[in-house]
């Protein structure tokens, strides 16, 4: 096991100094240790601070208190070794699919300075990624010519093109229908099992989290705290069929109870 790859040590975040002075934190006391190559999922009710957690993990926001370490070094700013996909695919509409996937290589060093000379090789890499998600034939199409699910697949390819060690997904399948979602779960599962980067998946879909992750963390309502940690020891490789087994439902039910408990707590406090 060795050193954890990602470590959050008693991390707190308030959105502004004024809020911090009042003691209003968005997330509190986050403690997390993730091994290399581990797939973790974070679930919680709306507005609990999941996206805030993402901002901390990507280095977009520094913590108000506590320390975040990735790959042994403290996180001070956006990490080059991470890729991120959001709920909205946000593909640039004036670029074709292939150009969209190549975008991170135009930004991140060392690829940026070698871009001209390595262009052909990068394109091959991009096409391989698109092929892995089944979109090789759409490389010269524009984003509006693709469906929502396809755009989201392209977005994930874009997040992986620069071979990050860490993939962060902020409710990436939230806007898709249930069947497309299950398709993309399998796509993500396959990409991860071949390349074994770390994944942090933020989602509100419990089945998604149990199907994909090694460990699921449940976050409380704002201010967000981790209230539960569940290791998912279902054997891999996991087929969609496993989602209909008793064991699977049991785990989902358990997680649901945690979240249920949070909501009744919140209701009870509101009632006063």
């Amino acid at each position: 096991m060795g050193q954890p790859f990602i470590r959050f040590n008693d991390v707190w975040l308030a959105y502004s100094p004024a809020l911090e002075a009042q003691g209003h934190y968005a997330v509190e006391g986050i403690h997390l240790e993730v091994d290399q190559g581990e797939f973790i999922a974070i679930v919680g009710p709306s507005g609990c601070g999941k996206s805030t957690f993402m901002k901390l993990a990507t280095g977009l926001k520094p913590p108000s208190r506590g320390r975040i370490e990735v790959d042994g070094t403290a996180v001070n700013g956006p990490l080059k070794i991470s890729g991120m996909a959001f709920q909205a695919p946000s593909l640039l509409p004036w670029r074709k699919t292939l150009q969209n996937v190549l975008l991170p290589l135009e930004i991140v060093e060392p690829h940026r300075s070698r871009y001209r000379s390595m262009r052909a090789e990068y394109e091959v890499r991009a096409l391989a990624l698109l092929d892995a998600v089944g979109l090789k034939a759409y490389a010269s199409k524009y984003p509006w010519q693709l469906s929502g699910g396809m755009q989201q697949r392209v977005s994930i390819c874009r997040a992986l093109i620069h071979q990050p060690k860490m993939l962060l997904l902020d409710e990436p399948f939230g806007a898709l229908d249930a069947f497309t979602r299950e398709d993309l779960w399998c796509v993500l599962r396959d990409l991860w099992s071949t390349q074994r980067f770390n994944v942090i998946l933020v989602t509100h879909d419990l089945r998604e989290s149990v199907f994909l992750a090694d460990t699921v963390y449940v976050m409380s309502a704002s201010p967000g705290r981790f209230v539960a940690r569940r290791s998912i020891d279902l054997p891999r490789p996991r087929d969609l069929e496993v989602t209909y087994t008793q064991e699977f439902s049991h785990i989902v039910h358990e997680l649901r109870n945690h979240i249920g408990a949070l909501r009744t707590q919140a209701d009870a406090t509101d009632a006063h």
Partner: protein, 253 residues
């Protein structure tokens, strides 16, 4: 059938208007000094076509020079204003005040500085037409969706990268829209300057034909300027469709 009718409709309307004009002029025996009929305009156009062509060419290249300058300055200033809040607060109010001044009033001043002729014409065209370009580029940059920006920010992109890779391409539809407005303004600027401070160009032609009571010639001049402005407008429209097709998907039939 519908498609063809749509495409032909502006021409049909134009022909209808010209016919109506001709009928009114001939029917009511309107004096040609007041309101020349289309036939009379055509006559004088054919008679003086060499002179008209020379003046038209002069107006055209002078306008293009001023317009080119307007694009350069408009884009640079628009970029500065759209990308920096400080620049925005500092420059924008002064620009608006400047834009409110009628540029025709500038011409005598420009004449004192640059003499009669090309100088004031180019500069008036420039001064009157750079503002829409500047405003549109600034708006395009300032209204950049945060979602698009985030995609680059998580990679550690600098502000410059975001502006060049996402902001400017995102602003191209606004840019072309402003070009279509600015080119018509540029022609106005040139013509106004030529009317008071030049010996050549359509503006000068309008004044001299007017004072010689050759209304047919004056109207020919107007038609020529209108045609040139329209041509340039259509050119930018075509460029716009070719380069920013991604932004016009909603209006496809």
């Amino acid at each position: 059938m519908n498609r063809k009718l749509e495409r032909a409709s502006p021409w049909l309307l134009l022909i209808a208007l010209v016919l109506a004009w001709q009928i009114i002029c001939s029917g009511f025996q309107v004096s040609e000094f007041i309101f020349p009929s289309p036939l009379r305009i055509l006559e004088q156009f054919a008679e003086h076509k060499a002179t008209i062509a020379a003046h038209a060419w002069r107006t055209f290249w002078v306008t293009m020079a001023g317009f080119g300058l307007a694009i350069l300055v408009g884009v640079l200033l628009g970029f500065a204003i759209g990308s920096s809040r400080l620049a925005y607060s500092a420059i924008y109010p002064l620009m608006t005040a400047f834009n409110a001044l009628p540029k025709a009033a500038f011409v005598p001043i420009l004449v004192v500085w640059f003499g009669i002729g090309v100088g004031p014409a180019v500069l008036t065209a420039f001064l009157i037409s750079f503002f829409p370009i500047m405003v549109n580029i600034a708006t395009g940059l300032a209204t950049l969706e945060p979602e698009l920006e985030d995609v680059l920010r998580v990679l550690g992109a600098r502000r410059w990268d975001v502006l060049i890779k996402v902001g400017l391409p995102r602003s191209m539809p606004y840019f072309y829209a402003s070009l279509k407005v600015a080119i018509t303004l540029a022609f106005v600027g040139t013509t106004v300057s030529e009317m008071t401070a030049a010996n050549e160009g359509i503006g000068y032609l309008l004044i001299s034909a007017g004072s010689a009571m050759q209304m047919g010639l004056a109207f020919s001049g107007l038609v020529v300027v209108g045609a040139m402005a329209m041509l340039m407008y259509e050119l930018f429209s075509a460029l716009e469709k070719n380069t920013t097709a991604w932004a016009h998907r909603g209006s496809q039939h």
